[in-house]
Amino acid sequence: MTPVELLTRLFPSGHEVVAGPFNTLAGRAILTDGAAVEIVGVTDGAPLSPEIAIELAGSIIRIVQDGKKTPIVLLIDTASQRMTRRDEMLGLNEYLAHLAKVVTLAGLSGHRTVAVLYGAAAAGAFIATALAAQTLITIDGAHPSVMDLPSIARVTKLPLEILEKKAETTPIFAPGVTPLAATGAVLENWTEADNFSDRIETVLTLEASSDTRDTLGEERGGRKVAHSVALRVAAEFGKAAR
């Protein structure tokens, strides 16, 4: 799905979203009740570079500075972080962290933040973009991943066929929407038949002040222990003070 098609389906009442530098998007859209939504995005599967991260973060900072608490929808089609010596030398970790921090700050400052993943996102770029929003929606055909299976096979020194077989028994490591949704990363996956406009308006009304992805992963059976371990640590924290 192209960004233009996606925007038309999400916001049939209209939008003024324009392309920015380095495969980015920014602008406003209108909901069916006339309320405004801020749109920030990355397109064309562009690997996340320091330039893209700082461009997106700058747009979000200006939205927060505006003070209107307008909801922010992030439209994401990236790749992994860009893999070059130059980017690492310049501190790509700081650029990715800055973007994740700014998206998180928007949420803490009263902006509803929703990421719509309509293409790819992987590894550190996935953390800094789609996973940094309060809620993640995927569109059919989206491809979120940590690392592709051939690369996991190389690092874990396991044959690819064995890994593929193991992936049938657990959602814990395989790429794709279904396993990531099972672990709690994705709230909803929308298909061609869904009314995206209705769906986004509903999602924007959901309360999202706390991070409940581990609860979701427990309910869906993809991450059975994370939530309970976190709760046990929290329960012991006060006792350890005495």
Binding site: H98, T104, V146, D214, A226, V229, V233, A241
Partner: protein
């Protein structure tokens, strides 16, 4: 002349995560939460015929530093590369959430000390590990938003790579030694994907010039540079918790400005000595070779401190 207690202090790089905690906190004050006796282990490693660890490679708890309560998290880089996974990550996230919830109560702490020693996400549990990093980022920023500084300490064998590099830069203050390395994609992975001409991972001097402690602190990617002994890390942790920037819109706007300027000033450089020459260092080629005292003297002349993190 190096003070005697530093000569006798063990090396951070060589120490285990548990020994780092012991050396960092006031004597006999550490209280571990979900320690090895509880046997909270990874339920996934068995699928890969890998042995689990009783603490899943992460130690969390609380103690005191110079008489003030702190929460502490330490990754053990010698177990599965100190990786973020379902259990190891949930221990970190649970502790950070508890710190936020206890802010302003009698159980509250003065700071969180995060001892990073990690290759990033554990690929055998890639999805759980990726989410653990994202949940750690959100919980850590919640701690900072509650007014409690989070101090990253980087100097272990595994460095702070992958999601660990992102988590490091989310902290209020980053302490690093010469041996410390911070990066997202590791040199081996870049070499595998882009070839040795892009990044020769066997060229150790190059790897350290790109990712190492001296390069990071000169560029502003770390805030305090310390000698590689445990006592120096302890002193820096105690100092920095009092001078950490708050997590606010003003701080993020200042970071935006800082990182934009870095790109426009050094975006066309290929190696760190080019950056140092442009920044006005008298003898850029010598930076990796001088001893720690000379490097600390060089830093103190340069005023590279910022509050934009």
């Amino acid at each position: 002349m190096i003070p005697e207690e530093i000569v006798r202090s063990p090396s951070w790089y060589e120490s285990s995560a548990r020994n780092r905690i012991t050396g960092l906190l006031d004597a006999e004050t550490f209280r571990e939460i979900l320690g090895p006796a509880e046997r909270v282990m990874s339920p996934h490693l068995e699928l890969f015929d890998l042995p689990p660890a009783f603490d899943d490679g992460v130690i969390v708890g609380r103690g005191q530093l110079d008489g003030k309560p702190v929460a502490i998290i330490a990754q053990e880089g010698q177990f599965m590369g100190g990786t973020f996974a379902e259990v190891s990550g949930a221990k970190i996230v649970g502790l950070l959430r508890a710190v936020t919830a206890s802010a302003g109560t009698p159980d509250g702490v003065s700071a969180v000390l995060l001892l990073l020693d990690t290759g990033g996400v554990r690929l055998q549990e890639a999805n759980a590990g990726e989410l653990a990093v994202s949940e750690t980022v959100r919980a850590l920023l919640g701690v900072r938003a509650a007014g409690i500084p989070v101090v990253a300490l980087v100097g272990g064998r595994a460095g702070a790579f992958g999601g660990g590099g992102i988590v490091t830069a989310c902290c209020s203050h980053v302490v690093i030694s010469e041996q410390g390395r911070i990066s997202v994609t590791g040199p081996e992975v870049i070499e595998t994907n882009k070839g040795a001409e892009e990044f020769d991972s066997r060229d150790r001097a190059l790897v350290w010039r790109i990712t190492g402690g001296r390069s990071r602190v000169l560029l502003g990617g770390a805030d305090s540079y310390v000698k590689g002994d445990v006592a120096s890390f302890r002193a820096a942790a105690a100092r920095s918790r009092n001078a950490a920037p708050p997590f606010t819109l003003e701080t993020m706007a200042a970071e935006q400005d800082r990182l934009e300027k870095r790109l426009s000033s050094y975006g066309d450089c290929r190696d760190t000595p080019e950056i140092w020459a442009r920044a006005g260092l008298a003898d850029p080629a010598s930076v990796p070779d001088i001893d720690d005292d000379a490097f600390l003297a060089l830093l103190s002349e340069r005023e590279i401190k910022h509050d934009a993190r």
